[in-house]
Amino acid sequence: MSNSEYILEMLDVSKEFPGVKALSDVTIQIKKGEVHGLVGENGAGKSTIMKILAGLYSNDGGKIIFDGEDITKKLNARTAEQTGISFIHQERYVVPHLTVAEMLFLGVEKTKTAFKFMDRRGMVKLAEQMLEEKVGVRLSGNMLVSRLTVGEQQLIQICRALMSNPKVIVFDEPTAVLAKKESERLFHIIRQLKKDKGVIYISHYFGEILDLCDRVTVLRNGKKIDTVAAADVTIDSLVTMMVGRDILEQYPPKDRKAGETILSVKGLTHRKEFHDLNFEVRRGEIVGITGLMGSGHDKVGIGIYDSHDITGGEVEFKGKKMSYISPDKAAAVGMGYVPDDRRGLGAIQSMTVKENITLACLKDMTRHGIISDREETRAVEGQIEKLRIKTPNGDVVSGNLSGGNQQKVVLARWLSDQSELYILNQPTSGIDIGARADIYKIIDEMAKSGAGVLMITQDIQELYGMSDRIIVMFRGEAVLELETTEEDLTDQIIVASMGGGAGDEG
């Protein structure tokens, strides 16, 4: 019933989350012996479709055919590996204090007696042999996993995945955390692998994709744009397919006026994420920072707000040099930070909307040290109305709100505190279109009120649509700073975030 050319077919797969259509009729077909690239922006649906394949989500529509058999109903998280599909996750699921051999054979230990005594010597030997044979690396089987580099830990996971002899292997952004040399070794392994297997390769690095993959499927907004042969496309045409040309529409007009400098960063260096950053943010201006995963751009915001992991450089705020900054100190002088993980780090889940909104500015609502209920309620009601937070009243527990509304609650927290610098880390990731437009309006008004805004985002459209100035980072360094103009410079940004020219494979 299925074309034997394909080892894995995902046909017309759809998935809907409350309020968001994450996937609509996406079809991806993987041939045996090919590396199939999957590209798209964050939120385009890449991870959703892979989670369906891994059995973590169930699909609303469509079917999945593997090796000629319809396995749509059979997929679940425990048996995914047994069906013959292996995943190399971005997260490293390893136990640090086990040895390489113990980790490699966890759950499938080699035993030699009726008592299931482990054959340690045999395991170590076999582990070393497997590692050399399957992923071409020489490691001592007795070494602790915690002593390995990130790349080596990943190789162990790959080796483990290969030991179950899968027919399809999925690599989810495997190079995001790897050094260049380690990446090259990985590509070599993948090329060896594809001889008798299907490989799905997800990455943001287009250089890698074109170099490694045979065919590429592009997703945008939960829809498949096309599947093309890698030989037929260039980075530019891929970018066009991925981003589309409907930018700059939903964003507020840029009629803001930049004033005096409010934040100036000199030589800021993080323990491991970035080094020697220099930039300024002026009042009334939105500055965007972007980069790919692993470029360190996502740690810049917290680095300004909390000096815990900062090893060098200085931060000047409102003309005053700040020595060690802790979040409470930063908030007290007028900064406000909106974290990317809004459930874990943003809104306190079991506190009410009211309590969350006034958390930072509660001191202003007191009389002789006593919280004034009336003032608090009035202020909160004002914010709920102004930001259009969808909640019957302020006494609803924040955890029950949708992601977008929780984000508005966190924004309202800093608006009520009348912050002068807003640091927004991925302010709209995972938020549906409607709430997104609201949030853009809020951010615009923040800048118009005379505050500075530093917006960290991976969403290029949003970055270009919202920012007055853009800083692009690559592997811990700022590689490009540009002013946004009428002309569309997104290609330039994408290229820069991948490490320079088109020829560079990054």
Binding site: D306, D328, G346, I348, S350, E355, L362
Partner: protein, 332 residues
Amino acid sequence: MKKKSFDMGRFLYDNTTTLLLLAIFLFFSVFARGFLTIGNITTALSSSSVLLLISLGMCFVVISGGTDLSVAAAYGLGGMVCVLCIQAGLSPVFAIFLALAAGAVFGLINSFLILKVGISVWLTTLGTLFIGESIERIVTKGGTPIYLSRVSGLFESIGQGTVVNIKQQGANITIKSSLLLALVLAAIAAFVLKKTVFGRHLYAAGLQRRAAELAGVSAKRCVTAAFVASGMLCCLGGVVGSSQLVSYIPVNGRYYLLDSIGTVFIGSTMHKRGFANIGGTVTGVLFFSFMTNGLNLLGVQYYWQYVIRGGLILVVLAINAYQRNVWALRTK
């Protein structure tokens, strides 16, 4: 209630703890002779002042996101410092002041180990519990009680003084000043937690420490304050306890450890969102004193009281945990 049909299952589910407490109270009223008299109830209440003080301390620490196992040691140290000072001839006021200061230092040591060294709350308080008890044993040469010939002044009135004392027609109504003190402190604590910035911030720090920090809350300062409050309240409990006994009995605080954990967590199951809170804690303390009182009136053997009490707390905590699991699923 606008024409909303009454959901019996839902009601039972939401009010399990309250109903359980009511059932137990009713049980004793019916079966324990002399339980439901004003005299008995005031006696039961007055005997609960020490537990109430320690539970208040525990409540602060639980709100800050931990559990303080060292309350037992702080209780012992408070009594020890106070009694030793009085034995040495210091004035009662100064002795009580020193005991409170010892409690503050004890709390600071706990918070230092937790926040600076980075040991978990459990291990830290377990360690300081053992060390505190060892100090009690060392000072008393292995655990010999210190008896005072008499108590006087503030030290006497803090434990033995009465506010109301009516004796007529066989009824004996006594309300001790220690109960009044504990209730006043409970009211202050409730006010601080509900109506001040510190209280709000403490809850935030206990629920999601990092999120609270990012919102500008000085979470570490809040946690430190909670431990200092706990140390001081427990030491005050120790002072009241020794005043009542006219002596100091070493390593006697463990009796209150489980009880205070029990009262606070039982109290938290009565809160809409499962937060530890003063009102619930006070109710929990009442529940415990009535239960002890009732079991005694029923003539239940002392050992069985252990089993019944431990078992009941286990059940209440299990219900609490179960509700939390369901809650977690619902919010996902």
